[in-house]
Subunit: 323 residues, 2 copies
């Protein structure tokens, strides 16, 4: 059952900018303060509803001399950018199952600038994810659960996962296309599946797409049409590998007059082109098509591009050999 049309406004839509989190995977989270401050203000001006600042990664597991500060997202570092965040935009951070010290590194919401914690899990680590969600809700945060790599999972297992998360206090359950392998007709079907549990348990459904097959924007707006309401995007698509649904495409598409594309263009003009010139790599390219078509992790393609290889036929053979 489609919701909305090309002329209407859907009041349940929430745009989440994940540039620093998914894009941070491309530059080890070394964003300048100027970049972050400008992104924060441009996102507010663009009408973005949530801005994800990065990960809350464990400093025991990930040495702080190897990564920029947005790998850890200390509250005081966020405060240096947002102050008391006197804006309608909420602040999100991501916590990966097995890669964070969640019992230690989060204060109560009322002491933190963070509004939402997004928990990322694989389907085989659900019990920890549930414990994390319950913990974050006790601390007073909104949460989402991002079940990654579901293109590799069986539908009955995904159903079981949705049923479990439906019974937690989580606010948003995300459909995540980790490998950029889903086609629009699959996204429409999966959206219906997730929405079935969303309706049952009163949860919002979100979508996080990757652009391996040049389908990140198409999949996002098709999911929206099905009824999905939390829409992830990144400026110029900056995200691991082929990157994500581009903010400039999504925000230019949405009909609610609160969304304005000009501030996103500002961020591109003043910052994103420079990152590209400095050699930070992301975005749609031939190797990602090949991993996307085979529903494979993008790491092979990322490595291929880092070595400046262009022997695409060999890459395709290597991918065949990996199955």
């Amino acid at each position: 059952m489609s919701k909305g049309n090309l002329l209407s406004v859907r009041e349940d839509v929430r745009v989440l900018d994940a540039t620093m989190r998914d894009g941070g995977l491309c530059n080890d989270f070394f964003f300048t303060d100027k970049f972050v401050k400008d992104l924060y203000h441009n996102n507010i001006d663009a009408g973005v509803d949530y801005m994800e600042f990065g990960y809350k990664a464990s400093k025991r597991m990930f040495p702080t001399d190897k990564f920029g500060k947005w790998k850890y997202c200390d509250d005081d570092k966020i405060r240096e950018i947002v102050g008391d965040n006197n804006s309608p935009m909420k602040i999100a951070v991501m916590a990966d199952v097995g890669r964070c010290d969640y019992k230690k590194d989060f204060r109560a919401k009322k002491e933190s600038p963070v509004d939402m914690v997004r928990v990322a899990t694989y389907i085989n680590t659900i019990p920890v994810a549930v414990d994390m969600l319950e913990h974050f809700h006790k601390l007073g945060y909104e949460t989402s659960i991002n079940i990654m790599a579901v293109s590799k999972n069986r539908t009955e297992d995904i159903r079981a996962a949705l049923d479990i998360f439906g019974q937690t206090p989580v606010n948003v359950i995300y459909l995540v296309d980790s490998y950029g392998s889903f086609y629009p007709e699959q996204i429409r079907d999966f959206s219906q599946l997730y929405l079935e549990y969303g309706d049952k348990y009163k949860k919002q459904i979100g979508i996080h797409s990757h652009n391996n097959q040049s389908l990140a924007f198409a999949n996002t707006i098709d999911a929206l049409k099905e009824g999905v309401s939390f829409l992830d995007c990144t400026v110029m698509g900056m995200g691991r590998g082929a990157g994500n649904c581009q903010s400039e495409l999504l925000i230019g598409f949405l009909k609610n007059p609160k969304y304005m594309v000009e501030p996103i263009l500002d961020q591109i003009e003043n910052h994103m082109m420079k990152l590209k010139e400095e050699g930070v790599q992301w975005g749609f390219d031939i190797p990602y098509i090949l991993t996307g078509q085979r529903n494979s992790h993008p790491r092979t393609a990322i490595d291929f591009l880092k070595r400046h290889r262009t022997d695409y036929k060999n890459l395709r053979l290597e991918l065949l050999d990996m199955e």
Copy 2:
């Protein structure tokens, strides 16, 4: 009513490679013979059903010292590449209403290596297009009609056009997204509209998409799912402005085992990267998003990129002023 699914083969599908025709608009049709011969053989190996060699443009109107030979597609020039074309792949050329001497420049099909003539028209030049179609059928050619820029036309006028062309001998009627402005849900609706007339008059329906909003592939496979069967693509998306649906995406997606993506990768490795290095410009980029979002001709964006401008916010204002 959807036709086929992600696991099935649709025997009515025809893939048409338009690299030299739409891509020729990016380099004034100056392809090397090596490029063309390799593309011809790679297309055959990839299972491509039709290869479009270029335009049959008037030599009176377009001086031959300004363009490469594929702007004119003389039969003998095609023969130098394909010989007697002993292959399952058919040869196509495009004839633009008002830009060709169609009564003079086409011999009878039995004397020509060309199998299909594709007539490109705007909705206000239909009578000439009809005359051309009838002429080409008398000469023995297959034809298609490509009605351009329909995103600017009223539905009732498009219906009238489809009704007129349905009554001609044309074989294929193309849904053309000239400005890359259509979203998938519009493409699904328009596909149904075109298929209504296709069913009535026993015509195949085709789709020719542009990638301004990163939707060319998504729109093509959504149209396919609705029942559209002629699918245009270009290698690495080479085509005017933001380019087209990429052969490597489309052919990698189709399930019929006759379609093989490796030869397309070969063409990319050996030729397309070189064109890019030589400075030939095409493909998805921020300025095309802005013309696509506003349903505008891409010329403003093409000019913007030729001048190496990156002041996207100004471009957006200029586009607003043009309406």
